[in-house]
Symmetry: C2
Subunit: 551 residues, 2 copies
Amino acid sequence: MKITLAQLNYHIGNFKANKAKIIHTLEEARERGSDLVIFSELTVSGYPPLDLLERKEFIDACLRTVDEIAPHCRDIAAIVGSPSLNTHPEGKNLFNSAFFLHEGKVQDVIHKSLLPTYDIFDEYRHFEPNADFHTLSFKGKKIALTICEDLWDEQPIEMEFGKSRLYTLSPMQELAKEDPDLIINIAASPFAYNRIAAKREVFTGKAKSYGLPVFFVNQVGAQTELIFEGGSLVVNPGGEIVGEMKRFGEDVRDFLLEEVSGAEEIKISDPEDYIPEIHEALVLGLKDFFGKMGFTDAILGLSGGIDSAVSIVLAKEALGAEHVHALLLPSQFSSGHSVSDAEQLAQNLGTPYHIIPIKTAYDEFEKLLHPYFKDLPFDVTEENLQARIRAVLLMAFSNKFGYILLNTSNKSEAAVGYGTLYGDMSGGISVLGDIYKSDVYKLAHYINREQEVIPANILIKPPSAELAPGQKDSDSLPEYSRLDRILYHYIELQTPVEEIIEKGYDEETVLRTIRLVNNSEYKRYQAPPILRISSKAFGAGRRMPLVARYF
Amino acid sequence: MKITLAQLNYHIGNFKANKAKIIHTLEEARERGSDLVIFSELTVSGYPPLDLLERKEFIDACLRTVDEIAPHCRDIAAIVGSPSLNTHPEGKNLFNSAFFLHEGKVQDVIHKSLLPTYDIFDEYRHFEPNADFHTLSFKGKKIALTICEDLWDEQPIEMEFGKSRLYTLSPMQELAKEDPDLIINIAASPFAYNRIAAKREVFTGKAKSYGLPVFFVNQVGAQTELIFEGGSLVVNPGGEIVGEMKRFGEDVRDFLLEEVSGAEEIKISDPEDYIPEIHEALVLGLKDFFGKMGFTDAILGLSGGIDSAVSIVLAKEALGAEHVHALLLPSQFSSGHSVSDAEQLAQNLGTPYHIIPIKTAYDEFEKLLHPYFKDLPFDVTEENLQARIRAVLLMAFSNKFGYILLNTSNKSEAAVGYGTLYGDMSGGISVLGDIYKSDVYKLAHYINREQEVIPANILIKPPSAELAPGQKDSDSLPEYSRLDRILYHYIELQTPVEEIIEKGYDEETVLRTIRLVNNSEYKRYQAPPILRISSKAFGAGRRMPLVARYF
């Protein structure tokens, strides 16, 4: 049996484009003599459709699309993901389903049993869990068809509650009762640089446990902040990976079921070598955000610092040099090298740039405010004023020319609230908001691995917001190397504060850091969507009350 | 049996303050000879704690607080809400529980079965549903103790999927098997002006179905955007409301169980008369946002329009006149009456205000931008520029003096994206973001019911953003009366677009409106939290993909 894995990039709600892509892939696979084409989870709508699932007409469009694809499944079968209606009078309106299409019509529908409802996932918000298990029969083989999380019943829980499993049910255990010949998993599993190995182990583990080959088809491409890496897998019954599809790109590949069992393990990338993966993820994230929003050009402020430098390089890779516009917006506190470093960078990249000093605007605001502020000392107000004047200029270009403003804040800053609302926190999408400062440096070095794209001076000077005379980040924050470790424990690992201190971090620094995080929830509430590359990004995956008093 | 209903205002995560309030209420009830004090859902932590529930130390603090309250329950019993640990090796870490405290210790723990996971609710994100039902025995009575949604199994589903019930289980049906004597429901059920009658019917319906008295204790007070109205109820076995506690305020009342069955129905407020309720809700929402964030003073821009007028009146009621600071920020496009109307309003209220014309700042930006914009026509860029200059000035006051900026956009504007990101969309909290323009007018008339607080001229002039010469809202938007009905169908009722048109609205207007809504998701993503007074507010209760192409 020739099985085709179709790892494609969908656009949420764009039924016409998604359908065309699916049918085109089916036609090509038929020509290659494929028996079965497997598409990813919620194929027809794209994943995640979020509350569009609450609109009846959206569901009708999904089902209509499945019906329109079915006639193309003659002499070839397909597995296509779509929401389906729960016809019981009680329970949630929908199932998250896989449609088995063959002989021109829907032959069977399998529903998802384990509905991830944590981090960025809200599936129980819309879907009823399945409790009725059966395999599919096709060409004399019994297929255990599972949907994404259905194979994740044994996933380890990292949080500090000492529980071994999130789920009380194992769909694969149920399906195993029918003695299947292979396992198929259709998924929309987003990228996280610190979960690369764990994700592979889900599929190799299941293959080994049940002594069955596993065909895993993942969605690829970005949907707003979520980046799906693809990386679909074929695993032999011994639990060895015998096929891995493109990471961060569309890919369609045929596999002979009969050959998979005897196939040899292939060499795959080292999950510890994650910086190149983050790099690819961000470029794909930017490219898809612009493409799917219907925009072509970006604008950003180049400060001469490392964050905007890395951001502009990634934007150039995603959009092309002529589609990335830089403004250099020095204030009276900017050092001379800031402008010259930024200029050098723009020239290295060949991106258009303009220099607009903001001092006259700053002075005008000072004049307007002086009757009320009188001789009150310079403080964060005047620092924020500079950041906000820059945002006004950047947004004017954005509005006038139809560019999307890129936010260039990093995760360390976002965590401790070291940023100005409506100032440098502005933007249509945040490029680096899920990347700690230490990793931003690693990205910069990676970018410079073959030639000096980012001027060396940008990499070696001490980080500074340059909003006050002689200011350095280290005046008000711990050194980033320590800060980032404390933040990783607190945010990603949810380590209790006492235990963080026990790990050898200075108590005062830990408590100060954590209070900064907690007291800046209100700022992050209004931040732009952040391209997510870790298991816990700020944004929809982390929901904190603003009025809480805690630590 | 004397039963005390304790309807109190908690602060999320402020265990010390919550505990003190609980113990104080217990001591006073004991002195009055009460047998049992009933507190609301998740009493010790406040509701909703959101992802703080993922922190082990937060759960430890909840459980420690329950243990510290227990010794105060001698000669009196209490029902206190708290998360509890799920001790099974599999499943979610926590239950949403009610602790029955008596004789100085925890006697029993009841878990919630129906976990709302829709709109603003995310309970299945953190909690395992209960499946083990038993009543509590106390003083010879059997108590069916339920937690909020547990009694909502029959709630009607308004969406267009033709399903009758969201849940496949009825906790009360299970508990009824033990033949209980009364029903208790501890809740954290937020206010929605279009759900007042439906909420009462849940409790009167259950009382009547089972022929049992119902004691419903709700949380009161606001937690960021969610406003809990209290309005706890006592219902006799005939399904008549015999006790209703304060709406929008703390209240503690004793009821004799023996008297409830024979008690007569009381007169309650008309749910159709919702404008005074919205008014009270917003004042409470503002008061608690400032109080719980630890702030005392607000600032806002007064434009001379209706939205900022209603906002400042509400802020004055919540914070006091001297704690509300207004800036009048006319541009060259502001009409003379805008400033004089706004001044008159500030004088009526006795709130301090300053007038800062923004033309010089606008001219300075024009000058900075001219080399790049050259002779391109005046467009939305220049309109946004004015709005953003105002935000810069307002935020400067906010930063310098520690005021929170109030956002004064209404729901109609927010829906169609008629607002400037980082301009008039700025603010720490949105006062009117869940109120359609038509209802903003009704609120204004209600405010003026006894005397002219808001100058009449503000109520009668046609709405205008005054960002371009002679501009009126009606130049680019349908009349608000029609617009608001279309929006209500699309957003609150989720009516399919075709059906909205069938209701008699012009097709082109409907499609244009809906495209405006869909195309401005990216703006609302960055909007401040919005005080929620309806069943579907923008914000956490409505999650839309930004990159979707849909209509």
